[in-house]
């Protein structure tokens, strides 16, 4: 479901989850619920009336009045430093949504699902992973998560519990520094990583790729080269390198 118009909302909880990212729980009275993978537009109004609008993916889904946003700070940004460093429980903002009818996952599909996240692109994919776990469909869903270092991984503890907790299986890829004892390689995702961590093209998975524009282009091109059908690769890009 998608609904237009701005809704008054208030921050109810903040948690620092990486050196640059924070999870915000936001109460939105009258919120109609959302599908896994959707986002919201957030509008902030300064005392002088100046307004700024940004889009943030939800880690939450379903029928709830408290939605969860995970925000990664862009140091020179206008909005994210406020949301990551300054905002406090009780602060008010406006929310429009849920938005997006394309990059969403719903129960009932017969095909396997592959999730591929770069950096803070993990947020909508966590919503999908949670929805799949709650629907008992986690066995047909895999997640490949590319992140600079362990410390930069939003939702790392939840994802580590993964399969043992009835959740989706996670393959980690570190691009800068791996944790002590790491047996795998370090660097950007390449064809070998995709062959190992992604459902084979013959199984006709639906693939969701989310991250910075360069990451999404690189991964989706490599998937097509491996034989994945372009129309089965859904993408969401949020700028950056």
């Amino acid at each position: 479901m998608t609904v237009g118009g701005w809704r008054a909302a208030s921050v109810v909880e903040v948690a620092d989850v990486t050196p640059s990212a924070r999870v915000l729980r936001v109460m939105v009275p009258g919120w109609p619920g959302s599908d896994a993978g959707q986002h919201v537009d957030v509008r902030l109004t300064a005392e002088d009336g100046y307004q700024a609008v940004r889009s943030y993916s939800m880690g939450s889904y379903g029928a709830t009045e408290t939605i969860e946003l995970a925000v990664d700070e862009i140091p020179d940004g206008e909005v994210s430093p406020y949301l990551v460093r300054d905002v406090l429980p009780g602060d008010e903002l406006e929310v429009k949504g849920p938005l997006g009818g394309y990059f969403v996952w719903r129960t009932g599909g017969a095909e396997p699902v592959q999730l591929i996240a770069g950096g803070s692109g993990i947020v909508p994919l966590v919503a999908i992973a949670r929805a799949a776990r709650d629907a008992g469909a986690a066995a047909s869903v895999r997640l490949l998560y590319s992140v600079r270092t362990r410390e930069d991984a939003i939702y790392r503890d939840e994802l580590d519990r993964g399969v043992g907790d009835g959740g989706v299986a996670v393959t980690w890829r570190y691009t800068r520094v791996a944790p002590v004892g790491w047996q795998g390689g370090v660097g950007r995702i390449d064809a070998d990583v995709l062959r190992d961590a992604v459902w084979a093209p013959e199984r006709r998975p639906v693939v969701y790729v989310c991250g910075p524009t360069g990451f999404v282009e690189h991964v989706s091109d490599a998937l097509v080269e491996l034989g994945h059908a372009p129309e089965r690769i859904k993408t969401e890009r949020f700028g950056g390198a």
Binding site: T2, I74, G100, G101, Y102, R237, G239
Partner: protein, 89 residues
């Protein structure tokens, strides 16, 4: 989510809110056919240059401008470019 430079290059997913203001519904899953090159793709897959006032929506295949959305004081305006067809599959 998007970067916060003066203009950020994202994709059609991030324009869902502005497009909602024009159409009154979500259109990111609809397929647009480019009049420049004939490519057909969901609006979510377009190239979008976004800032506070506007979204320039371009074809990912040939980069021609499909349409532009302007956020104005009293509403939202969509100006057609080379977008040729809209299809609900």
């Amino acid at each position: 989510m998007r970067a916060e430079n003066a203009t950020s290059t994202v994709d059609g997913n991030a324009a869902a809110g502005m497009l909602w203001d024009v159409f009154g519904t979500d259109v990111t899953a609809l397929v647009g056919v480019c009049g420049g090159c004939g490519a057909a793709a969901p609006f979510a897959e377009t190239i979008v240059e976004l800032d506070e006032a506007a979204a320039i929506v371009r074809c990912r295949s040939c980069t021609h401008t499909l349409f532009t959305v302007l956020r104005e004081d009293h509403g939202t305006r969509l100006m057609m470019g080379v977008l040729h067809e809209i299809v609900r599959e």
